[in-house]
């Protein structure tokens, strides 16, 4: 098995695992039952998406997806924080 093949299959497995994980998070988002559960689901989804992008970057050897991952890592919490704050205070910016 060449390195390329190892990476291709191995990282493919990793991707599948992450996507499964996303699926479960989505289930939480859909089912709720409460708003905080959904937000938690979205947060998990973001996290998994970011990891997925990293793995995908390795798998396709494209260094160009780094920004997308960085943005999720650095700014992705904005959306979920806003949601959480909305729950807490009823409005996002006071």
């Amino acid at each position: 098995m060449s390195a390329a093949a190892v990476l291709f299959w191995g990282l493919g497995v990793a991707q599948a695992l992450l996507l499964l994980s996303m699926l479960l998070a989505t289930w939480r988002m859909m089912r709720g039952p409460r708003a905080q559960d959904r937000i938690l689901g979205l947060d998990t989804l973001y996290l998994n998406a970011m990891l997925l992008i990293l793995v995908h970057g390795m798998r396709s050897a494209g260094g160009l997806y780094f920004e997308a991952a960085l943005i999720i890592g650095m700014l992705g919490f904005t959306a979920t924080v806003a949601l959480a704050k909305f729950l807490m205070r009823g409005e996002v910016i006071e």
Binding site: A4, V6, S21, M22, M58, K85, L87
Partner: protein, 113 residues
């Protein structure tokens, strides 16, 4: 898929192992999200992916790119740093909001203020 071939096979195995174990941790976290019964339990689960899972994959990625580019390519570590700093913000706020909501609804399990 045009995976680069200049990666030594052992490095490839390590990268793959890191990535898979990281992914597994993330998956475990998501499973926790499903199997736990209460919100306050569920909220712990994704942390798996956000901490160690993320760390493993980031390390794998760093290693991978360092090999590919033939130099120390550490920028993926930045993702790790920022994610570590930001994820708790969400969770803290979310937990606080949940506590507030449960209190308003009169949930007994929540300690009063």
């Amino acid at each position: 898929m045009n995976t680069p071939s200049e990666l030594p096979i052992w490095a490839a195995w390590i990268v793959v192992a890191l990535a898979i174990s990281g992914s597994l941790l993330a998956l475990t976290g998501s499973v926790g999200l499903i199997v736990f019964k209460r919100f306050y339990e569920r909220v712990h689960a994704p942390t798996l992916g956000a901490t160690l899972g993320m760390a493993l994959i980031v390390i794998g990625s760093t290693m991978f790119w360092s090999f590919v580019e033939g130099r120390l390519a550490l920028k993926d570590l930045l993702i790790g740093v920022f994610l570590t700093v930001t994820t708790p913000v969400t969770l803290v706020l979310l937990a606080r909001a949940a506590v507030y909501r449960d209190r308003v609804e009169g949930d007994d399990h929540i300690p009063p203020e």
